[in-house]
């Protein structure tokens, strides 16, 4: 446990990717089985404990600390495990007990993992509390990180697997390919990487394959690209998914639906899993489709992050995949084939599938870049028809390129529609989490609206990125100096016609919403510019936003119980 805690602590302070890789690889090389495999599982999200969850930590700390002080501390630190580790009332300074570096009794990682996995719901709190009493701050923090599962130390599953791959000098993708057939502590994996055993059989018939990502295209890039080498299609505003089906040696079939990071989201989409009746791996965009029309992203959000889904939801918000690539056809991996060939195989695959849940992402015909620019400017006229609202822009793909994992530069480009801009006034600010911990970095902003007592600001959205770290420091200072009142963690910032701060906010689309006071919901809002120069009285009015609404934009359904965050492509 000491070494594992030390590793997490070192990684947390290591800003360089190569530095992190070296630390993890060194740990895996010098730590015995099964400890290293369990550590690898922790970093790849492979340890899930039925009873040990974040709620347990909250309950333990609530028994020992004042709830108001815990809330203020958590708000400041922005990380549950760290807050609890720091606040844990351990014996300190001079008294007997845990001093830094003194983790008595020497807990081992396998011991901790077994305890977290096997202890019953009633005995678990006492067990974890006794460990916390015996560990120093770093040890407590590492233990709590294990329990919450999300380490948030800047290590992705991919990075950890890359470090593991370096032990055997193999490509990270080779580890990826055997990965889904393995269980922690991955003894056959390490045996293979260290040359002590053959490559493990990939026994999983429906493994995840790392997705291919695109680069944003700049105006200057077009001069160097020949339109004849590329095909184009719409970039749909949904969730990137990979639908994989395979047959086991015994003839039984397995279907999984993966997010772009390899999480299995199948349980939330039984309607799609059922419809995937042929072996293969499809790459496409998850959308909600009603009567042949794509619904807003808000509607799709109702179906995300659920463990189970109700029959009502299945019929009200049917899921759909608009497919654009085929990675595996039957049992054959076709990723090495050029896009044009994969596309022909894809068309045949979808035709054979014959399900209304899957359709092809249409290609956009264009002769030169100007023609594509015209199509991007008006998707409705260029073939997207009624679904034009769900178009985020264009994807431009080299027709001779293989399917490559990661974000290779050159084969795939994204060309987003120009964002919409509006001047809003900063109204409230809250502290951020993770990287932005303790800075006031989440901003609620509003626009002017007529009311019986004159012009009033009405909140229209919230954004927490779009600014540099230097700007964040200035914004944070502004919030502190112009706080008008405080509501728990929220600071109300001065906002009248003369005093306050104007943001130029960029966003992708707009929907009617019953969730917000203004009746509007912005899609993907971010701060595009800070208008230090502009008096708030000159910010935009609500009418400017209402003009941007889709003509017959129906209100979204009532909010889901669990709000879900979408992963946003960096």
């Amino acid at each position: 446990m000491n070494r594992f805690a030390w590793l997490l602590d070192r990684i947390a302070y290591e800003p360089r990717r190569n530095g992190k890789l070296a630390l993890i690889a060194d740990y895996l090389r010098t730590t015995p089985d099964p400890d290293r495999g369990l550590a690898l599982a922790a970093m790849t999200g492979g340890l899930v404990f039925r009873n040990a969850k974040a709620g347990l930590i909250r309950a333990l700390i609530a028994e020992r600390t004042d709830p108001a002080l815990f809330a203020l501390s958590y708000d400041y630190v922005g990380d549950l495990s760290e807050t609890a580790a720091l606040m844990w009332p351990a014996p300190r300074r001079g008294t007997a007990g845990a001093e830094p570096g003194d983790n008595r009794p020497p807990l081992t990682l396998p011991e901790v993992v077994a305890g977290l996995r096997d202890a019953g719901r009633t005995e678990l709190p006492r067990l974890v509390a006794s460990w916390l009493d015996a560990l120093d701050e770093t040890g407590r923090w590492a233990l709590l990180k294990l329990i919450t599962g999300s380490l948030r130390i800047g290590v992705s599953a991919r990075l950890a697997k890359t470090a593991a791959a370096s032990l055997g000098g193999v490509a990270p993708d080779e580890v990826e390919q055997v990965w889904h057939g393995l269980e922690p502590p991955y003894l056959p994996l390490f045996a293979w990487l260290e040359g002590r055993a053959p490559r493990p059989e990939a026994s999983d018939p429906a493994p995840f394959r790392p997705v291919m990502l695109s680069h944003p295209i700049d105006d200057g890039d077009f001069d160097r690209l020949d339109p004849a080498d590329f095909s184009a299609e719409w970039k749909w505003d949904g969730i990137r998914v990979q639908a994989v089906s395979g047959t086991r040696p015994d003839g039984s079939r397995l279907t999984r639906l993966y997010s772009r990071t390899g999480d299995d989201i199948g349980p939330a989409f039984p309607d799609l899993v059922e419809a995937m009746t042929q072996d293969g791996a499809l790459d496409g965009e998850l959308l909600v489709m009603r009567e042949g029309a794509i619904q807003s992203f808000n509607t799709l959000q109702q179906r995300l992050n659920r463990k189970a889904v109700t029959a009502k939801m299945l019929s009200a918000s049917p899921a759909h995949i608009r497919v654009y690539d085929l990675l595996v056809d039957g049992g054959q991996d076709i990723r090495a084939l050029p896009l044009l060939e994969r596309r022909m195989r894809l068309e045949a695959f979808v035709a054979r599938l014959g399900s209304a849940r899957f359709d092809l992402s249409a290609t956009i015909p264009f002769a030169d870049w100007d023609a594509l620019a015209a199509a991007r400017a008006d998707p409705a006229l260029a073939g997207a028809g009624a679904d034009a609202e769900a178009v985020e822009g264009c994807m431009i793909k080299r027709i001779d390129a293989p399917y490559l994992p990661g974000r290779p530069k050159g084969p795939w480009w994204k060309w987003k529609r120009a964002a919409r801009l509006i001047d809003c006034v900063l109204m409230y600010a809250q502290r951020g989490h993770g990287k932005r911990s303790s800075f006031y970095s989440d901003y609620t902003f509003g626009v002017w609206r007529a009311s019986p007592d004159g012009e009033k600001l009405v909140p229209v959205g919230k954004a927490y990125f779009g600014f540099t770290d230097e700007e964040l420091v200035e914004l944070d200072r502004f919030v502190r100096k112009h706080t008008r009142s405080r509501f728990g963690p929220v600071r109300e910032v001065t906002h009248d016609r003369q005093n306050g701060l104007v943001f130029e906010v960029a966003f992708e689309g707009l929907q009617r919403s019953t969730r917000h006071k203004s009746g509007l919901a912005m899609r993907f809002p971010r701060i595009s510019r800070i208008r230090w120069d502009k008096p708030p009285g000159e910010a935009d009015r609500i009418e400017a936003l209402e003009r941007l609404l889709p003509v017959d934009g129906a209100p979204e359904p009532p909010p889901a119980k669990k709000p879900s965050a979408r992963e946003i492509e960096p």
Partner: protein, 357 residues
């Protein structure tokens, strides 16, 4: 009229003696401000950090060291008139007595005891309780109203012993003898305290300093604080300083200036280093939790020790400390004074300005 009533009418109410204003704490019966953030006619100043000690006042009353530090930083013309507050001596202004008592924050730092008609308020300024070889220790003064900071007023802030943090630094120097160790430290107080602690740990090699730290370090040495062999870094010798300790302003550790050192280890000596995200935001590899402010336990201990029935909180994490006061039956109010370090320990802006050598 009962005796109690009579006494109540005679005794000053705290709100008559000191009131928070946008310029800082104001004492109407003496017509003075304490640590004003704007130029005023007459100012009493607790210590030399630039968020508390600003230039441009008509007259300043402060300790000898604080006046000297202000003159060093702003030039001799930093104020119209100046008057030395002798340790322990009382200065009467109008009907009010003022006394400067050590605060243990940095060299020359003081609490100001404000007393008038049976009412005693202590303005503690910034303070700490942990031993500091470079300045006089905090002396608790019993009072009716205690005005405290709350820079680290959350139960997550419990500073480990400073000598253990310095041991971490020296261990890293031993482990990486080829790398230069750049230690970010505020140029007034923290920098010299870290140097003194390094000496106490038995480290005898020269300690190198960034130009922005030099002047105040020389001042500390001149005041009789032994810091050993201190050398200013010459730009050309940076690449030869592998294995050495270099003290610089916090902003310099991410500067272009820092890149010339051999594979530098970025360290930062600050109470903020308690929170991992704060260290990561600053790109700090080796966080050293060394603070010149009282931590959560010491804030509580001090409040109990001075026996005040009422606690005013100037800046920092005021809500949490006020909440705790409530749970132990003490009246507390956050003043939300603007312009003090708030969440920046000491003086982030000044440090940035001084960073260019």
């Amino acid at each position: 009229m009962t005796l109690a009533r009579q006494r109540a009418t005679q005794r000053r109410r705290p709100s008559e003696l000191l009131i928070p204003t946008p310029a800082g704490l104001f004492c109407p019966p003496a017509d003075i401000h304490i640590d004003p953030v704007r130029p005023v006619a007459r100012a009493l100043i607790t210590h030399g950090h630039s968020d508390h000690a600003r230039s441009g006042h008509g007259a300043v009353l402060a300790t000898r060291e604080t006046l000297a530090i202000m003159a060093l930083r702003y030039g001799e013309g930093f104020t119209g008139e100046r008057q030395v507050a002798e340790p322990g001596a009382t200065t009467r202004i109008g009907e009010v007595d003022f006394r400067f008592v050590p605060a243990g924050h940095v060299l020359g730092s003081a609490q100001i005891v404000v007393e008038s008609r049976d009412l005693r308020i202590v303005v503690s300024g910034d303070y700490k309780r942990e031993r500091d070889p470079t300045c006089a220790g905090f002396e608790p003064v019993t009072c009716d109203v205690f005005i405290t900071e709350a820079t680290f007023g959350l139960p997550v802030f419990r500073h480990p012993p400073a000598h253990a943090e310095v041991a971490k630094l020296l261990e890293s120097v031993r482990l990486f003898p080829e790398r230069a160790h750049l230690v970010g430290a505020y140029s007034l107080g923290k920098a010299q305290r870290v140097m003194a602690l390094i000496r106490e740990a038995g480290y005898e090699r020269p300690i190198f300093v960034h130009g922005a730290v030099e002047k105040l370090t020389d001042f500390y040495i001149a005041q009789g604080v032994p810091l050993g062999d201190i050398r200013k870094v010459a730009p050309a010798e940076r690449k030869s300083l592998g294995g050495e300790i270099v003290i610089c302003p916090p902003s310099a550790i991410q500067d272009l200036w820092a890149r010339r050192f051999p594979d530098p280890v970025a360290a930062f000596a600050s109470g903020w280093m308690r929170v991992r995200a704060r260290a990561r935001q600053k790109g700090v590899e080796l966080p050293l939790i060394i603070s010149d402010h009282a931590d959560w336990d010491d804030l509580q201990a001090t409040i109990r020790e001075v026996g005040a029935g009422e606690i005013w909180i100037t800046h920092g994490e005021a809500e949490a400390l006020a909440h705790w006061c409530g749970t132990v039956g003490l009246a507390a109010k956050p003043l939300h004074l603007v312009g003090y370090g708030d969440e920046g320990e000491g003086e982030p802006e000044a440090a940035a300005a001084e960073a260019s050598p």
